[in-house]
Amino acid sequence: MIIFRIAWRNIWRHKVRSSIVMFAVTVGLFGGLASTAIMKGMVMDMVKNNIENEVSDIQIHNPKYPANNEIRYVIQNSSQVMDSIKKVDGVKAVCERTKIQGMASTASKATGVIVIGVEPELEKKVTGIYRCLTDSAGTYFASKHRNRMLISEKLAKELKVKIRSKVVITFQDFDGNLTGASFKVEGIFKTQNDLFDKQNVFVRKSDLDRILDMPPNSAHEIAILLNSNDETYTVLPVIKKMFPQYLIEGWFDINPYLEMSTSMTKYMLLIFMSIIMLALGFVIVNTMLMVVLERTRELGMVMAIGMNKKKVFKMIFYETSILGSVGALLGIVVSALFAWYFGNNGLDITSFSKGFETFGYSTVIHPILETSDYIEVIVMVFFTGLIASIFPTIRALKMKPEEAIRE
C-alpha cells in the first residue's frame, strides 16, 4: 500500500508533465478507439446492408447454376423446399427467386442487367429493397398490372427512364430461344451499393416465369433470413444436411469480401492500438527515465534502507501504470461517449466521402465499440505499462545505493 501511495503522490510532483503524458494517452487512445469504431461501423453497416438487401444469410442454388447462371439449372419443388426450411430453428423468413441475365434497353441506351423475379410479399420479409424506394411516386409492386419493374436510381439515369417509363428486357427463355418483354417502371430504388444498383432490376417472379416458360414450382435461388446473422454458422449445416443435392452457402461463402471485412474489423483495433500503444510506450518510457534520473538519490536511499528490487519495480510499475491508466480511462470514457452519441445519431460524412457508395459503404456511419474492444484496450494498456516499466526499473536497479545517495 505504501508503495502505491508513494507512486501516486510521485505522479503529482510534476503536475504539468504528468498531465501532458496522461493527455497524450487520452488523445492516442481516443484516436485509436474512435478510428476503430468508425471503421467497424462502416464495415458492419456495409455487411448488414449487403445481407439485408442482397445476399441474405443463406442462399440455395442448383449446384450447376452459379458457374454460368444458366436458366435451366433450377431448384425443383421450390415451395416444398421453402416449407421445410421455414421449420428449421433460427429461420425467420424464406423467399424464392428466378434470376437471369438480360439486356435492358430504352430508346436512348441498352445495358446488361440481372433480372430478379421475386414474390413481392415473401421478398419483403427477407430483403429490404422495398425500404429503398427513393421516388415518392414509386411503389413496391403495388400495381395489379403485369410486367412491372423496380429499377435503381443509377440505372434509371443511365437508361433515362422514370416512373411509368417502359424498358424492354431481352433474354433467353428456358428452351434457349431469344425472347423479351416490355416492363413499366413502378419504383426506383437506391441501396448503399452502387455496383448492386447498376446491375440489378426487380420484376414479379410470376411475370418472369411466364415469359421464360419456367417449369412450375421451380426457382433459381432460395434466400433465407435468420433471426440473427450470427446463427448462420449453426443453421447452415442443418440445411445442408436436409438438402445435400443443392448448393447451400452462407453469406460469407457468397460474398467472401464481407467475411474478409468482418474479420478485418476484429484485428483493426489490435493493429491501430498496437501502433498507438507503441508510440505512447516510448513517451511513457522517456518520462519514467527522466523520473528515475531525477530521483537517483531518493531511489538510492530507499534501496539502501532495504527496499528490495521487487518493490522498486512495483513502485516504477505503479507510476507507469497510473500515467497510462488515468489517460486510458479518460480516453475510454471519451471514446465510449463518441461511440454512443454517433452510434445513435449517425456520423454524416457525405461531404467528404464521394465514391464510398461505389464500394457499398454508407455515408452515414454508426460507430461501434463492443465490450471486448474496451477489454482489449485495457489489457494493452496494462502490458504497455508493464513493458514500459522494465527499462526504467533496470536503470534504477543498476544504481549503486551508496553512489546514488551522494548524487
Binding site: I2, I305, G306, K309, E402
Partner: protein, 247 residues
C-alpha cells in the same frame, strides 16, 4: 572528566563488555575504476559492541564513508570479512543484503534523504511498512519515538515544511523505528546549526542509552566527537587510533 584509553591491537572497544555485533577482519577496498588505483580501505580490523556510541573520524578521503558502507552492506570489500552478529555478510547476494539491511541496520544520512511525498510519520514508519509490521505496532512505535525526539505534533507535515533539524530527527526516527541492531550515521550533523546539532546529539545519546542501540558515526564535526564514547581515527584507509572515552 574524561579518561582516555588506547586499545591494544586488534583494536577493540570493550567499554561495557557487551556482545560484539560487528567485527571486521583484514578489510581492504581498492577502487580500480580510474587510472590510478585507490586503496580506500587498507587493512582494517575492528569490532563494535552492542550499545556503543562511536565516532569514526579522519580527514576527507581517509575512508570513513567507505568503511561505513562496508559494515552497512552497501559496498563489498575487495578482501577481508565483515561479520554482523557472527554472520559473514560479505558473501551475501545483493537481494539477501537488501533484506539484511532492512532488518538489521538503520541509516542516517547527511542530507536527511526523507521521501518528499510522504509525511513525517509516513517517512518514519516506512521501514516498518517494508517489513510488513502491523499498523497498530507502527502507530505505537512512531508515537513513542516522535515524543522522545521532540517532534510530536509534526506527524502529518511533509519534509519540505520541516526545518533541517526536524528533518534529521525524522530520519533518526526512521532509522530507529524498526529497532535495528545498529545505526550508521554518515555526517548526520553536517547540515545542521549548533542548536539543532546539540539537540539531535542529545536525542541520539538518550536513545542509545534507553534502547541500547549501537550508533556509529562518520564525522568531521567536533561537537559529535566530543559526545562520542569511542573515537576511531582513520588515515589513508587505516586505523591510526581507537580511543575509548569514559565520560
Amino acid at each position: 572528566m574524561k579518561k582516555e584509553t588506547k586499545a591494544s591491537s586488534p583494536l577493540r572497544g570493550d567499554k561495557r563488555g557487551a556482545p560484539v555485533i560487528i567485527e571486521v577482519r583484514g578489510l581492504h577496498k581498492t577502487y580500480t575504476e580510474t587510472e590510478v588505483e585507490v586503496k580506500a580501505i587498507n587493512g582494517i580490523d575492528l569490532s563494535f559492541e552492542e550499545g556503543e556510541f562511536t565516532a569514526i573520524v579522519g580527514p576527507s578521503g581517509c575512508g570513513k564513508t567507505t568503511f561505513l558502507n562496508m559494515i552497512g552492506g552497501l559496498d563489498v570489500p575487495t578482501s577481508g570479512k565483515v561479520f554482523i552478529n557472527g554472520t559473514d555478510i560479505s558473501t551475501f547476494s545483493s537481494s539477501k543484503m537488501i533484506d539484511f539491511r532492512l532488518n538489521n541496520i538503520g541509516f542516517v544520512f547527511q542530507a536527511y534523504n526523507l521521501i518528499p511525498v510522504l509525511t513525517a510519520k509516513e517517512n518514519a514508519e516506512f521501514i516498518m511498512q517494508l517489513q510488513g509490521r502491523p499498523k497498530a505496532e507502527r502507530d505505537k512505535r512512531i508515537a513513542e519515538l516522535f515524543e522522545a525526539i521532540g517532534i510530536a505534533g509534526k506527524e502529518n507535515i511533509k519534509p519540505s515544511r520541516l526545518s533541517g533539524g526536524q528533518q534529521q530527527r525524522v530520519a533518526v526516527a526512521r532509522a530507529l523505528a524498526s529497532k535495528p541492531k545498529f545505526i550508521l550515521a554518515d555526517e548526520p550533523t553536517a547540515n545542521l546549526d549548533s542548536k539543532a546539532t546539540a539537540e539531535l546529539l542529545d536525542i541520539m545519546h538518550e536513545l542509545n542509552r534507553q534502547e541500547k542501540v549501537t550508533f556509529i558515526f562518520s564525522t568531521h564535526d567536533k561537537r559529535v566527537i566530543e559526545r562520542a564514547e569511542r573515537i576511531i581515527t582513520l588515515e589513508d584507509g587505516k586505523v591510526v587510533s581507537d580511543i575509548i572515552v569514559n565520560i
